[in-house]
Symmetry: C2
Subunit: 334 residues, 2 copies
Amino acid sequence: MVTIKQVAKRAGVSFKTVSRVVNNDPTVKAENREKILAAIEELGYQPNLAARMVRKKNSDVIGFISDEISTTPSSVDILRGAQDRAWELGKTLMVFNLDHKKPTPIKLLEECRQHRAEGVIYGAMYHQPVELPETFDKQPTVMVNCFDPNVERASIVPDDQQAAYDVTMQLLNKGYKRIAFLNLNPEIVAAKLRLAGFEQALQEFNIEQSNYLVETVERVIDGHTSDVTREVAERVIEEFKPDAILCGKDLVALRLYFVLEHKGLRVGQDIGVASFDDWDCIPQLLVPALSSVALPYYQMGRAAVSRIVEMVGDKQVSTHIDRVKCQISSRESF
Amino acid sequence: MVTIKQVAKRAGVSFKTVSRVVNNDPTVKAENREKILAAIEELGYQPNLAARMVRKKNSDVIGFISDEISTTPSSVDILRGAQDRAWELGKTLMVFNLDHKKPTPIKLLEECRQHRAEGVIYGAMYHQPVELPETFDKQPTVMVNCFDPNVERASIVPDDQQAAYDVTMQLLNKGYKRIAFLNLNPEIVAAKLRLAGFEQALQEFNIEQSNYLVETVERVIDGHTSDVTREVAERVIEEFKPDAILCGKDLVALRLYFVLEHKGLRVGQDIGVASFDDWDCIPQLLVPALSSVALPYYQMGRAAVSRIVEMVGDKQVSTHIDRVKCQISSRESF
DNA sequence: GACAATAAATACAACGATGTTTTAACTTAT
DNA sequence: ATAAGTTAAAACATCGTTGTATTTATTGTC
């Protein structure tokens, strides 16, 4: 690769003068500057960031460690958001994922530290508690889509409770009065929070307990989760006769659509349906299109990088949890 | 951060001896080695890869430039595969994506070159021709899920033709005799190749032209693609009366399922259905589960890194196109 | 116990850049 | 014409490593 000295030789100046030009130092004669820029262009010189870093001691690198990033189709948006924001701020994202739990987070963090990453983002595929090893305290760390249940650490998570509250309020405002919530496994953080938001909205509307219903559509046996949406949905419709159903995720709504089709109930007319996730690949192509609460993954990714950069700049400890607002993608299902 | 000299001081040896230990040089007394390892542990020393790189002139960094990686849920598997393989080979992947066509590939490549990436992978979201700027010739470059129509360049693409051939043969071997192919927009590379594979299999089975049918389910108006699966499917079923339908992608199959449900045709019994993509989020949850041809994204990502590393090692120009075999995920739909 | 042979550590230079100090080349003022 | 002041370039040190040459310590042999 071309070095600064080769450029200097070509331009007939000392290599330090080239360094000046590269770093926009104004104390360079216009004549020399032009010669140097021409030489840079001709030789295709690119400054060696590693060498620069050794000297300047800032790497502009941010580590991104992810927990099986690709398992859900949209959680990769965290990465996209982080990537975009990093680019805007002149930072480079170095991405590591730990599929199948090997390599360990500790190994990945070591890698980040060897690259002298200024901060590290740890991203999870779904909203969950994660206990990070203590070594993560050694540099600014931001958790995305997860939080540490033991230690206070900077975190960015979706505001699941507000999301459930909002969508339930929308249903109630539209006149739905008997809402069933086909929730996910209640062990899941998101399920717990959404239930809280759901009930909060119902209370505000003074809906009695007999006029709403919460059921779980995931059955866990020996740690293995199976989906029982169809049977639960059939029973709920039969016995509770809801006028609207809120689904824990788009996949539940998809299954529900088949059940409703089978029962001859028209979505949006005979019964309202809403769900969570707003995946690219389902809501828009159901008929009628499914209204779904989008998880703000892209925004969360952006926020994570912004936060890391702030932490690096301030050298301040910031451990609060950012809850990012979820938007409802309103379509025709309610 | 801790430097090698601080470790040396702590261990009471010269810093070069520490370097020896870090690099597994055997000419260090066991006694010193232990003292040094202890000091490294105590201080939490991590070698500065940037400094090492300046000296050794190899970065072990591979650049990964992607064209809107997240638009389809599974193409991010390319990244996962690349990531995993890079880790196995002791390389670091530096990921850049160019959403909304800004920043330009040229800018991203410059960034890679500044980091002295040993090679660059350019990944596309779907199988397509991509004309890379000439600057990509300056270092080993591998294209994944795309190829350059003008220049011969190392590429790794899915073998769409073989995939279509295989799945069609499976259908024929199972006794299906009137197959309709609801193909994607024929402008798409994959659509063209699959059509070829489809017809190849039919010819081998001596199926006459009147016993198969190919229709396009995507209508392009002013560059905007709209999906007309429902109307096309209804017409095809009505007029052609196929005993099996091959779908251009899972989303087409999903729509088809609704049409078939409506018409009272039972998938897997009255009619066979197969498709391409094998996304995580659709085939398994349709009833009956959809058999789909998986695109080998993960393998392609791995292969790309393997290939780059080979190219870097050999300093050989390798410009052939690898076509990676696609596996059929057989379920209950045919 | 002296001397060579080997092993292990140190000393010094280098990598490609930047920060600081010094020097050289011009201006300007008297 | 000379001193002082200003500007631009060069010289030198430095960052945290590794590679090579050199020195020092250890061992073996007679």
